[in-house]
């Protein structure tokens, strides 16, 4: 099954930037399923509806995507073994003194387990720490030591076990999603031509706006990366227009 698995962060980030509609457009481009775990669905929909008044409208918008099938809640049957391995290899990998540091939440573990089980094309994760754990666990150790001002032990065999599990997992962020949407002209098409006539630098501002928008709503992307992405994406967009 061709699929992409979403963590809650990218959906929230797109929603807070009024870009949730991109999910349906991108799914069409993708031609497969966009999956979320049951825990992610709970965080995106159930919690705002039942626990806080602030994000009810946003939760209803996400609910519409689930209802239309643009986001599918993945069946979690058959992931227990992978789940347990991830839980054990991540939440018992780093310790300070005699205390293990619990890094991952069951929802995030479930999301990675689903990615592995369904052999997804990629996992969409905005937050830095899960991404680092998948791609650069040593960098995460350095951050823990620097920020907590104490020696952190990393059990290498557990990290190796985790890295073996995620060796085929590719990670992208909402920053890449909006970049691709830009390159395909999806973002531009949502604005009337009049705007382009009024704002001469519309193309540049639009790209800058969406990249900074997702960054300021939790997508872990550095200023340097945004600058480099802008150049690469603008170049691709101009080449496509020619």
């Amino acid at each position: 099954m061709k699929c992409l698995v979403f963590d809650s962060g990218p959906v929230i980030s797109l929603s807070l930037n009024n870009l949730l509609w991109l999910i349906a457009k991108l799914r069409k481009e993708f031609g497969g399923h966009f999956l979320i775990s049951r825990s992610v669905e709970k965080e995106l929909i159930d919690n705002p509806l039942n626990r806080t008044k602030r994000f009810i409208l946003e939760a209803l918008n996400v609910m519409s995507l689930v209802a239309s099938g643009d986001l599918n809640v993945a069946r979690a049957e058959g992931i227990k073994e992978i789940y347990d391995k991830i839980d054990h290899s991540t939440n018992k990998a780093f310790s300070s003194g005699d205390s293990y540091i619990t890094l991952m939440h069951p929802g995030e573990i479930e999301t990675i387990a689903i990615t592995i089980k369904y052999k997804a094309e990629a996992i969409v994760v905005d937050e830095r720490n899960t991404r680092l754990l998948i791609e650069e666990p040593r960098a995460l150790k350095r951050i823990l030591e620097k920020k907590l001002h104490r020696k952190i032990n990393m059990e290498k065999y557990r990290i190796k076990e985790f890295q073996d599990l995620v060796k085929d997992v590719k990670v992208i962020r909402s920053a890449e999603l909006v970049a691709v949407a830009y390159e395909k002209g999806i973002l531009q098409s949502s604005f009337p031509d009049e705007v382009r006539k009024i704002e001469r630098e519309f193309d540049k501002h639009l790209l800058e706006g969406v990249l900074w928008g997702v960054k300021l709503r939790g997508c872990s992307v550095s200023d340097h990366e945004i600058e480099a992405m802008k150049k690469s994406v603008m170049k691709a967009w101009k080449n496509q227009k020619l």
């Binding site: 720490n129 890449e176 709503r217």
Partner: protein
């Protein structure tokens, strides 16, 4: 080894206990000297333990101290009640009376909350804001977003609204990540496949 067994027993690790007592003594001294701006650093100190041990006590003390920092810096208040509660908390913890200690910290939070509700013109309550600020700190320490949200009992929606303030590592541009995304979206229904 895990903190959950200690939590169930209503106890706390010696490291956490020693650190909380020493921090609360510092907090009390700073309040007496009206050096409120130094309370923020003290709340950050406790949050280091909150990241490692992920215990409710370090979290509630960090939130209480940060909320005190905000409230006392903003409003001129009689500190005597707050100081009494802090002293009571210290004494209780020194005697391993965890119930009394937790009641004292919870009362500090209630006092701050009541002052804030009485005096603030803003909807964003200081205690809730303190939870979010401390959550962002724990995330910055390396704990995953969902785990932080769970620990601090706040929603990821709220947390993500503030995460843009975290200074990111100066990560180099990873073109292959963008290429992966380009590749993923290169052959769907939009391309007629």
């Amino acid at each position: 080894m895990s903190s959950s067994s200690r939590k169930k027993a209503g106890q706390m690790s010696l490291v956490v206990k020693t650190d909380i007592i020493s921090t609360l003594k510092e907090v009390s001294s700073r309040i007496k000297q009206e050096k409120f701006s130094e309370l923020m650093e003290l709340s950050n100190h406790v949050i280091h333990n909150a990241s490692v041990f992920q215990d409710e006590d370090s979290i509630s003390v960090a939130v209480a101290v940060y909320a005190l920092y905000k409230t006392l810096s903003l409003y001129k208040l009689d500190h005597s009640r707050i100081l009494k509660l802090i002293e009571r908390g210290i004494t209780a913890l020194e005697k391993d009376d965890y119930i009394q200690f937790r009641n004292s910290i919870s009362s500090v939070i209630k006092v701050v909350d009541a002052v804030d509700k009485r005096l603030s013109r803003y909807v964003d309550e200081v205690v809730n804001k303190a939870r979010i600020k401390k959550a962002v700190k724990i995330y910055d320490h390396g704990i995953s977003l969902a785990r932080v949200a769970e620990l601090m009992e706040i929603s990821q929606w709220e947390l993500l609204n503030y995460l843009g303030n975290v200074k990111e590592r100066d990560e180099r541009f990873n073109k292959s990540r963008l290429d992966v995304a380009r590749d993923i979206f290169s052959g769907g229904e939009g391309k007629g496949k």
